[in-house]
């Protein structure tokens, strides 16, 4: 058993080295230059560009780009158009947005609720943090990198808290974390194949369809289960599938003491791989990892959601190293998000001690279903881009974009409200019980 675990851990660390550097939500882009524009030649339409490290280059502006778009002495990311000739600029993105009060407040708020959700259901925040940062003017790659860098310390603090409450199965987290990291590599290869075969729109369509299908099916089932439990005594029963799989004596068997499960590695490893595959595809592996641990492995929702934080830490730390090496992390944004999410994650973690198991399932299912609506709103646009339906008119495209973003915000807000209410009700009940106990012991 121990030997198997060691082999698994070594394999997990070797796999990323053997393949291209990867992490959840795709690899860092390779063909990007980082540096500052120092001078513009309006007649020649060229710019002097000082790369990180001091190398000076002369780049040519594309016809569609106005000279005013070149801001001097601000750090930028430049992608080159290799088909148009050597040193021709394709796209320029300002790496660091200017901070305004409203942007800071938005980041603090999103960080707080994202943290609360993360502490409560084990995953969350990433699905809204990355688009939220992008809508504030952060380039996509920087938003993904920054989210990753904010995620792993948050997951670390959350894991520590829930470990103290006796809810984290460290061994299950290690097995799932390592196998999920391997799953991410597989997911990236699959993404690359689809991108090369069907182009950008095909890749987006694939991601959206997987997103909606997984979230509706899994989220719907979790919701149904939570509803059944809420109508009953609220106590959790191990799923029939998990009980059947636990009876399967297939070497090597693994014992997870906190989860109170003895199950074959042939069950846990595929669940981990699927978590990684989904993490690489939709950047929220926890949406399959937590239900996988509950319904396939047989852990309680409490242990599964807590263990997911450990998995998020392992995967987030590995991803952050990759993004950090690419130099794309905006630490200012990561720190602003952390300032509230580190408190939110602890609040969410202690909230789990006041609620019944089904509450965690209910929050997770609600978030999954609302997020599915958000992603579903993007599908008509991708279908149109692939000529699989008539093009969308401007008004419709704007409406669907807005619908997609605001439903994400609604998902976050909704979960924040449910968790707060559940926590407050749980605390009030607990205080009332304590009062009764004190009265009985004194009377």
């Amino acid at each position: 058993m121990r030997k198997f675990l060691i082999v698994l851990i070594i394999a997990g660390f070797l796999a990323p080295l053997l393949s291209s550097p990867a992490f959840a939500a795709g690899p860092p882009p390779k063909d990007i230059l980082k540096g500052v524009f120092t001078q513009v030649d309006a007649q020649q339409r060229t710019v002097s560009f000082t790369k990180d490290g001091g190398e000076v280059m002369t780049l040519t502006l594309p016809e569609k780009m106005a000279l005013e778009e070149v801001s001097l002495n601000k750090k930028v990311m430049v992608s080159l158009d290799t088909h148009a000739g050597p040193g021709v600029i394709k796209e320029v993105d300002r790496m660091f947005m200017d901070m305004t009060t409203s942007k800071v407040v938005a980041l603090l708020l999103v960080g707080m609720i994202g943290g609360l959700l993360s502490g409560f259901i084990g995953s969350g925040g990433a699905f809204v943090l990355t688009p939220a940062m992008m809508s504030l003017g952060v380039p996509g790659a920087v938003a993904v990198a920054t989210n990753m860098c904010h995620k792993f310390p948050k997951a670390l603090v959350g894991t520590y808290k829930r470990f103290k409450y006796g809810q984290v199965d460290l061994k299950l987290a290690a097995v799932m974390g390592v196998t999920a990291t391997i799953g991410v590599q597989l997911g990236i290869q699959m993404q690359k194949y689809i991108l090369n075969t069907y182009g950008n729109a095909g890749s987006n369509l694939y991601v959206s369809v997987i997103f909606v299908a997984v979230l509706v099916l899994v989220g719907g089932y979790v919701f149904f289960d939570a509803y059944k439990l809420a109508r009953g005594d609220g106590g959790e029963k191990v799923s029939k599938l998990a009980l059947r799989l636990q009876k399967m004596e297939l070497w090597p068997m693994m014992e997870f003491k906190v989860a109170k499960v003895r199950i074959s590695a042939w069950v846990t490893v595929p669940v981990g791989l699927c978590t990684g595959l989904l993490a690489a595809t939709i950047a929220v592996g926890g949406f399959v990892g937590v239900p996988g641990m509950i319904y396939v492995v047989g852990a309680s929702a409490m242990v599964a959601s807590a263990t997911e934080l450990g998995i998020a830490f392992i995967m987030g730390a590995w991803g952050s190293v990759q993004w950090g090496i690419s130099g794309l992390i905006d630490i200012r944004l990561a720190l602003l998000l952390l300032s509230t999410s580190l408190i939110g994650v602890q609040l969410g973690a202690l909230g789990t001690t006041y609620v019944k198991d089904y509450m965690i399932k209910l929050v997770m299912a609600s978030v999954m279903l609302v997020v599915a609506v958000s992603r579903g709103a993007m599908i008509p646009g991708y279908l149109a881009a692939l000529n699989l339906r008539a093009p969308l008119d401007h008004g419709m495209a704007t409406f669907l974009d807005g619908l997609s973003f605001w439903t994400l915000v609604a998902a976050l807000g909704l979960s924040g409200i449910i968790i707060t209410i559940a926590m407050v009700v749980g605390m009030m009940k607990d205080r009332a019980e304590k009062k009764v106990l004190t009265a009985v012991s004194h009377g």
Partner: protein
Amino acid sequence: MAITKFDQHAMAAAFSEAGEPETAREILKDTGAQKKQPQAHHQAKKPYLSTVILGVLSLTAYYYVFSNEKLVTDVFTRGGIYAIWPLGTALFVSFIHGAFGSNLLTVLGLEAKKSH
């Protein structure tokens, strides 16, 4: 007149000799409870000082990063080995600010449910 520990022990011995060991035990138990009380009070004490210290440390760290925004964003995004800066900062903040958050919640009276 207050009953001292000596008086209590003497009373317990007297009851014990008189063939009432249960009463003697009760008297000694009370002493134990009296002893434990200040300890329980001590445990409930809220960590005001450490919250303030960690809060100031965390605030200082944030102040340094944001007052040197240009330098930080330049150095932290050089890539390669410089990755240690953003990752190290994120970890450092998670310890300092995370501990501050934990203490803050305790000070606010928000603590995990203890099983009865």
